[in-house]
């Protein structure tokens, strides 16, 4: 089928799916960042056992594929009385997985902060939570922007797995269109190009942010 004609006919359908991909990606990315910061806080403040707990959590999610929590939350939670909507289930799985990676990224950046700053913060009477919020977190986030950008791209690509729980994002849409029309090539190449677009957009966004923030 003529490629141009295909895009003209199914363009709008793709846009809805693109919207879902973008929304889940942004939502999960924000959630993962917050969760990653929370894990970092736990690691820094809850002593040896806190750090060990976070380590165990991180190891669990680093060594298991993200499809498993996606299936688990979607199919098993309703059985124990938590029938959350598919987007929430998928988003939660992505947040749990990526939060682990983000907490590791942030941990690496924490070591880059000069120890002197902690002493200085204590000497002006800042409570630990305020130290974390006003001194540690901003610097850690700024240092981590490139690595966070990388992780966000990975998260964006992982949204394609949400097609397994029947969320109509880009990959699912391509599968539906392939079945409807038999035009597998056109369906998937358009989706691949759209993903490349999203990935490039995300990379540009992070690069611009990094440059903007570094100027301060």
């Amino acid at each position: 089928m003529n490629f141009g004609r295909w895009v003209a006919i199914y363009g709008p359908t793709y846009l809805t799916a693109l919207g879902w991909t973008a929304v889940t990606a942004v939502g999960a990315a924000c959630g993962a960042l917050i969760w990653g910061c929370a894990l970092l806080l736990i690691r820094l403040s809850a002593g040896r056992w806190g750090a060990r707990g976070v380590d165990a959590y991180v190891q669990l999610f680093r060594n298991t594929p993200v499809l498993l929590p996606i299936y688990l939350i979607y199919f098993a939670f309703p059985m124990i009385g938590l029938p959350w909507p598919a987007v929430v289930c998928g988003g939660l799985a992505l947040i749990l997985q990526n939060g682990a990676y983000i907490s590791e990224i942030l941990r690496g950046s924490v070591n880059a902060i000069d120890r002197v700053q902690f002493d200085a913060a204590r000497s002006i009477g800042l409570a630990p939570w305020s130290t974390f919020r006003k001194v540690v977190l901003p610097q850690v986030l700024v240092y981590s922007i490139p690595a966070l950008g990388n992780q966000t791209v990975l998260l964006l690509k992982d949204t394609s797995l949400l097609s397994a729980i029947s969320i109509t994002e880009l990959t699912m849409q391509a599968k539906l269109l392939t079945e409807q029309t038999g035009a597998a090539y056109e369906a998937f190449i358009v989706v691949a190009l759209l993903y490349l677009l999203l990935v490039s957009g995300t990379e540009v966004l992070f690069r611009v942010t990094h440059r903007a923030v570094r100027w301060r």
């Binding site: 190891q59 669990l60 680093r62 060594n63 298991t64 594929p65 993200v66 499809l67 498993l68 299936y71 688990l72 199919f75 098993a76 059985m79 791209v153 690509k157 992982d158 949204t159 394609s160 797995l161 097609s163 397994a164 880009l170 990959t171 391509a174 599968k175 392939t178 597998a184 090539y185 998937f188 190449i189 989706v191 691949a192 993903y195 490349l196 990935v199 490039s200």
Partner: protein, 218 residues
């Protein structure tokens, strides 16, 4: 736990490991070739490398797998799910490893290049005795990382019906509804495989350092 499921999951894990192994071997060979292209004299070749890496790393693995699996018939290739899946994994791993190797080469400090060149070695021994050991040492940690990623990526192939651990787990669950147990077991299998590879990698790293590989004493 449903009877026989442990055995099925173990078989699935073996298949996942095998898929990952084939992908890593194939990917490494492909990556060496690609990395060579990355440093080619010709701008077009370097550009082709950049495009390949850009496309493979910018598209989700699932989309690549579906593209190969559903669109391949048009090329008259007899691809069942296994061949399509393995092909995609090799392409994917190859791109990731090529970037790792390229990074490794770029990480070699300038002085090393200059002293190597001053020895007057021709290219092949230069590569074998100087570049390769250095690159190996620099790239071992990220290489092990990619190996772990490949094992995890094999789970995505379950969606194009390649029978491996995730699909085995899915089949058992859809038959018996023991979702928590089976997924827990599957996670345990993946954990053992991935963690194991990670630890083996670290052991190997330490072993290399002790041997004084590439001029580094512990």
């Amino acid at each position: 736990m449903p009877p026989g499921s442990l055995a099925l999951l173990a078989q699935g894990a073996a298949v996942s490991l095998l898929l990952a192994a084939v992908a890593i071997v194939g990917g490494t060979l492909l990556a060496v070739l690609l990395a060579a292209l990355a440093f080619s004299r010709f701008a077009v070749v370097r550009a082709a490398y950049r495009v390949y890496v850009y496309v493979v790393r910018g598209t989700p693995l699932l989309v690549l797998a579906l593209l190969v699996f559903y669109a391949m018939p048009a090329l008259d290739l007899r691809t069942g799910p296994y061949i399509a899946g393995t092909l995609v994994l090799i392409v994917y791993t190859g791109a990731l490893l090529a970037e790792v190797f390229r990074g490794g080469v770029l990480a070699i400090p300038r002085p090393q290049w200059e002293s190597a060149r001053s020895l007057g070695l021709p290219p092949v021994p230069l590569f074998r005795k100087i570049v390769a050991p250095l690159v190996t040492r620099y790239t071992l940690p990220p290489y092990v990382n990619v190996c772990v990623m490949t094992v995890k990526a094999s789970s995505v192939l379950s969606i194009i019906s390649v029978w491996e651990l995730t699909l085995a787990a899915r089949e058992i669950i859809e038959r018996t509804f023991a979702v928590f147990t089976i997924l827990g077991l599957a996670a345990a299998f993946y954990f053992v495989m991935c963690f194991g590879i990670d630890r083996l990698g670290r052991l190997f790293e330490r072993h290399l350092a002790l041997k004084g590989f590439a001029g580094e004493r512990a």
